[in-house]
């Protein structure tokens, strides 16, 4: 009896489709009717279908239509897609999105890693500092954006410009100039991503074998050597997940940009989501906006699969 129980729980952690012999039959007989699990799953499944899967289908359909509310839509084939790719702004927005995804991911990861190394440990003091540093993650994005608008106030006595002043640098226009707007937006993203990465990396650091630090030290490795040969290899799987999560966050970025710059000045921070929003709700070109959503969706899925495949190949 206990043997059966053991096998059941271990199989339960990696559920697979398809019938399983004997155990499943017995379990089913014991736990009653077949529809019971479906009754418990019904609310979630109905909601997922209505608000996740039907919208995907809706986006696909609309992307091939000239959508005219109240008048009835017409099929237009690939016209929306060619209109989308023909506009210069789509290419620019895609480029900006890619830059933000890459630079913000890298910056957030580096800073998060540095913070994790610095604040690793069990001391109560470290726990408090970590919690304080983590606060930006739980604050709503809208508040973060409004806060940084104030920090980036372009006058010389603005907060960010005061800091530049202490460092004897010229004041900047930050989000108000096309030259510095992208960097300004990315700094905000890094500020919010880094503490999140920090916590996950610290959780990963717990699993690092302490004795390896000792042996590395005995072999003459300094702290850089210990990070290079012990810490980083142990953190590989954690970092792979963080890269995937951060890259997807970068691709779908909306609220921060919408409130900080609204894609401006002069389109210098327009990303795919702000462009799609503009097309759909300001210009009411729902078909083209849907085509943009489909492209972004395919891009996100492709990115996820590529990263996963890359991680798996390196693991093998």
């Amino acid at each position: 009896m206990t043997a059966v129980e053991h096998r059941d729980t271990s199989a339960g952690t990696t559920p697979r489709p398809g019938p399983t012999p004997r155990g499943a039959v017995r379990r089913q007989a014991r736990s009653g009717r077949r529809w019971v699990p479906w009754a418990f799953l019904a609310p979630a499944l109905i909601l997922f279908v209505t608000f996740k899967f039907i919208p995907i289908g809706q986006a696909l359909v609309m992307s091939f239509q000239d959508v005219q509310p109240y008048l009835g839509s017409e099929w237009v084939g690939l016209a929306n897609y060619s209109a989308l790719f023909a506009t210069e702004e789509f290419g620019t927005a895609a480029w900006h999105t890619a830059i933000i995804a890459v630079v913000q991911t890298a910056g957030g990861l580096l800073l998060g890693f540095a913070l994790a190394l610095l604040l690793e440990g069990q001391a109560r003091r470290l726990w408090i500092i970590r919690s304080a540093a983590f606060l930006p993650v739980v604050v709503p994005a809208a508040v973060v954006a409004e806060l940084w608008r104030i920090i980036y106030h372009p006058t010389e006595d603005g907060v960010a410009n005061s800091i530049l002043g202490w460092l004897l640098l010229e004041p900047s226009q930050w989000i108000n100039s096309p030259d510095s707007s992208m960097l300004s937006v990315i700094i905000v993203g890094v500020w919010r991503d880094a503490p999140y990465n920090m916590i996950i990396i610290i959780a990963g650091l717990v699993g690092v074998d302490r004795s390896l630090y000792e042996s590395a030290s005995l072999d003459g490795a300094g702290w850089l050597g210990r990070i290079r040969y012990v810490t980083l290899p142990a953190l590989r799987p954690v970092i792979a997940i963080l890269v995937t999560l951060a890259a997807i966050r970068g691709m779908r970025i909306f609220t921060e940009i919408f409130l900080l710059t609204n894609g401006g000045p002069n389109g210098s921070t327009e990303v795919l989501m702000t462009l799609i929003y503009r097309m759909g709700f300001e210009r009411i070109e729902l078909g083209v906006a849907a085509a943009g959503s489909v492209v972004l969706l395919v891009g996100t899925i492709a990115l996820t699969l590529i990263v996963r495949a890359a991680v798996r190949r390196r693991d093998a």
Partner: protein, 288 residues
């Protein structure tokens, strides 16, 4: 230098005063950079200064006038909307999650794998990307043909089913010993009894985890309320920030009052459920 190498940097293993001093200074800098601006928001909400470029860690003078003006500008109404959305939304989200998790964790049935795959797929789909078609669906719900545009309900129903919450709960429910369930079944308890009085009470810590995550997730919503609310009447607090900022008659202090009100609930929820939160965030991410 016989260091006790508990960490990669070996901090805390040395007693040299200047290492400690630098370490303390860097820690102070970290707190200042990440928590400082948030403290400045609260300080600014009580500040007399109307200078839009100033942020400081202590209020310049002390006044409640910003709060009076904010109330006059309907901030409490927006806060109320936010609380309705998060209250009802979180309750429904947790209910749907525990029900689905019970089936996934405690039952073996044909199709369980497919269901799990579907849930993982919804987690890979960033909600923002589906915003446009979602708005179309909300304006004419399938089968029911209800129009939820411009109703708070439209901001609630799409976030009720959340894959993350279901999967976290499933992991916790798998830990409940089979013996408890078997014993109840021998006593003649039905399916609902077992769910409600055997499994659910043993996973109350998990309710804290999905509760605090669900709260932060719903409270952070921006694009969905933006699509659903067509007028200020249905604005949530985050949406109101933008219109307050654009209002030439209110000063920076009033915007900061609204910002403080918008961030305090999630900060308090985080501080109250910190251990649940940290546990959820690391286990959730590491499991992918």
């Amino acid at each position: 230098m016989s260091a006790n190498l508990d960490t990669a940097l070996g901090l805390g293993s040395t007693n040299r005063w200047w290492v400690k001093a630098i370490n303390a200074a860097v820690c102070a800098l970290v707190v200042l950079v990440f928590a400082g601006p948030l403290i400045a928001v609260i300080a600014g909400a009580f500040s007399e200064s109307r200078d839009p470029s100033r942020l400081s860690l202590v209020p310049e003078g002390f006044t409640l006038e910003n709060w009076v003006v904010a109330v006059d500008r309907q901030v409490l109404h927006y806060l109320g909307n936010s609380l309705i959305v998060v209250g009802i939304g979180l309750l429904l989200q947790m209910a749907v999650s525990v029900l689905a998790a019970y089936a996934l964790a405690r039952k073996r049935f044909r199709g369980a794998g497919v269901v799990l795959l579907l849930i993982l797929a919804t987690m890979m789909l960033p909600e923002e990307i589906l915003a446009i078609p979602l708005a179309v669906v909300l304006s004419d719900l399938p089968l029911l043909h209800l129009n939820l545009t411009d109703h708070l309900a439209g901001m609630i129903v799409p976030i009720v089913a959340w894959g993350f919450s279901i999967l976290v709960m499933t992991e916790f429910m798998k830990e409940v010993p089979r013996e408890l369930e078997e014993a109840a079944r021998l006593d003649g308890a039905g399916e609902v009894r077992i769910f409600w009085s055997v499994v659910l009470p043993t996973v109350t810590p998990a309710l804290g985890v999905i509760g605090v995550f669900g709260f932060t997730m719903i409270w952070d919503q921006y694009l969905l309320p933006l699509l659903v609310a067509s007028g200020a009447e249905n604005y949530t607090l985050p949406l109101a920030l933008r219109s307050l900022r654009a209002d030439p008659e209110v000063g920076i202090g009033v915007v900061l009052v609204a910002a403080a009100l918008a961030m305090l609930p999630s900060i308090l929820a985080f501080l109250a459920f910190q251990r649940s939160f940290m546990r959820g965030i690391s286990s959730g991410a590491v499991k992918g």
